[in-house]
Amino acid sequence: MPQPKLISLATAVDRFTQNGVQYASGAALPIGSDAIVFGRELLRQGRNQLHAIFHCNSQQLNLLAGAGAVDKAECGFSGLEVFGFANGLRRSIETGVTQLEDYSNLAMAIRLLGGAMNWPFVPATVNIGSDIQYRSAFSPEEYPSTSKIPMITDPFSGRQLGAFQSLQPEVAAIHVSMADPLGNAIMLGTEWSRFELSRAAKKVILVADEIVHTDCMRQFPNLVRIPDIVVDAIVYWPFAAWPQSSPGLYDVDEDHMRSMNKALATEETTQQYLKDYVFSYQSHRDYLDMIGNEKREKITQTETSFLMDPYRKWILSADEIAKLVLEGDR
């Protein structure tokens, strides 16, 4: 029988990560789902020299890189969409702290698909012919690069294709709307590459905004795209993606998206941000206070809240969850 796997955020980071770890986050969307609070905890526990595998940049990668904790990163998109350039990440790239290896969004997704299949590579006809293929930040002396996305020949038709190296990140933190205590998860909104990542990563930690009873999963098994058998631990953390959004639960916090990105533009203001928004809280209660009552009320009044309606009756109480976490942390 599967056992409950709820543990605290601090325990998850302590147990599953170390300096230099190859770390992936999901969904790694720039304004939507991402396990952002896991990145805050990585910094709180002083983790550094990370090799970050992010389908796209998010405020998490922006923060980790801005704080100088990322040596290497692989990304499909490195901005914040309509919120502009990611100041922390761009500063760490421009100053040479972070080596960013560029891919496209499809390339990152199929590299995770390849990792999930345990294939060495996946063929595709994107990125070839552009500087994404010819330029490598990890092997800068090689130009045009023939090792980043080498050309291969389709043995059936003779057609030329690009070969994309598969990814199997050592550890992944994956943000989900809801999980049960065993690790079955439902994602509202685009999955992005969370389905593939959950099978590609060697260790998988879910970071869930809500914990629901397993009966909920039995009611909607087709929607459970991450089953417990691929999950190592679950962290319960409402507003885990803040200041980004979680469809059905909360909207993007526009003010904090801007002020956070502004702070990450310089080293000095980044230190202040870390003090105020990373090292400042001692509990989840503190974290919610840090966001503020008024702000939480505002962002939870989302046009998408009806998406949560079918699941609400199965949501577990904070007390029930706390009991399970106590057992899990032992």
Binding site: I31, F85, R90, V126, L161, P247
Partner: protein, 265 residues
């Protein structure tokens, strides 16, 4: 623009001109920001049956509450009929060759329609890769759309620094070195069919694939466009004025652009 009876901004003209390129019933993929507004404008105006998607695999949706902050924004997730994922949208539907048209943006574009969204370097990069002086957003899904979509529309503000003879870094391929060089890579997509700017519309010569001026707006002119283009821009013999936005077009656009993002500049 006071000499014209309708008041509209250059960005609105660009979005409407882009939207006019989309045809009813097409399978279309929209990027973030302006390109999404242009796409959903077409849906609200003349292409109600356009099959629109974003690269996150958000289907059947149209924005509520103004310009979505991103392709996964709650503003585009509030009325979707299907949510899937990146492999589905960019792979099964774009890389496969099913997608008719995509709209992408550019920080820099060159005369063969190659797009740079990766970085600004001081001079050439050289044989040894080095970090850009100014790091931009990277390729995102635009490279995948540029390789796979039947045709691609590039939207870009018309400023000299953005219109280069040759981009420093190709993030998303246009016609590469021009002529038939794109064919070398076996892309299933046909390449960019238009560069639509805040001053006019450029289209590729069918043989050389060099982009030339095809049309200008009621408020712009050929000389202004040439002086804002950093290559010797050729002018098509069929060059013409783009019709002004109609009242209905502006109404449809502003319904999509509820917060007036396009009216600010």
């Amino acid at each position: 623009m006071n000499s014209h009876k309708l008041e509209y901004t250059r960005q609105e003209m660009m979005a409407i001109a882009t939207g006019r390129e989309l045809r009813d019933g097409e399978l279309a993929i929209f990027g973030v920001g302006l390109s999404m507004l242009a796409g959903y404008f077409a849906q609200a105006h003349h292409a109600p049956n356009i099959r629109a998607m974003t690269e996150g695999g958000v289907y059947g949706a149209s924005p509520v509450g103004g310009l979505p902050w991103g392709i996964e924004c709650n503003r585009i997730s509030a009325n979707a009929t299907s949510f899937t994922n990146g492999v589905d949208a960019l792979g099964f539907l774009v890389a496969s060759g099913r997608c008719d048209v995509g709209i992408i943006g550019a920080a820099q574009v060159d005369k063969f329609g190659n797009v740079n969204t990766t970085g600004i370097w001081d001079g050439e990069i050289g044989d040894h890769y080095r970090a850009p002086k100014t790091r931009l957003t990277g390729a995102g899904g635009a490279n995948d759309i540029a390789c796979g979509a039947g045709r691609v529309l590039i939207m870009v503000a018309h400023e000299p620094k953005r219109f280069a003879e040759k981009v420093t870094y190709i993030s998303s391929p246009g016609y590469l070195d021009g002529g038939n060089t794109r064919e070398r890579y076996g892309f299933i997509g046909g390449g960019p069919s238009a560069i639509i700017t805040t001053l006019g519309i450029l289209r590729p010569d069918p043989n050389t694939k060099e982009f030339q001026l095809d049309a200008y707006y009621p408020f712009s002119n050929i000389e202004e466009i040439k002086s804002n283009t950093n290559w010797a821009l050729k002018v098509s013999p069929r060059v013409h004025v783009v019709p002004e936005p109609t009242v209905d077009e502006l109404k449809a656009l502003r319904k999509v652009d509820e917060t007036g993002a396009l009216r600010k500049q």
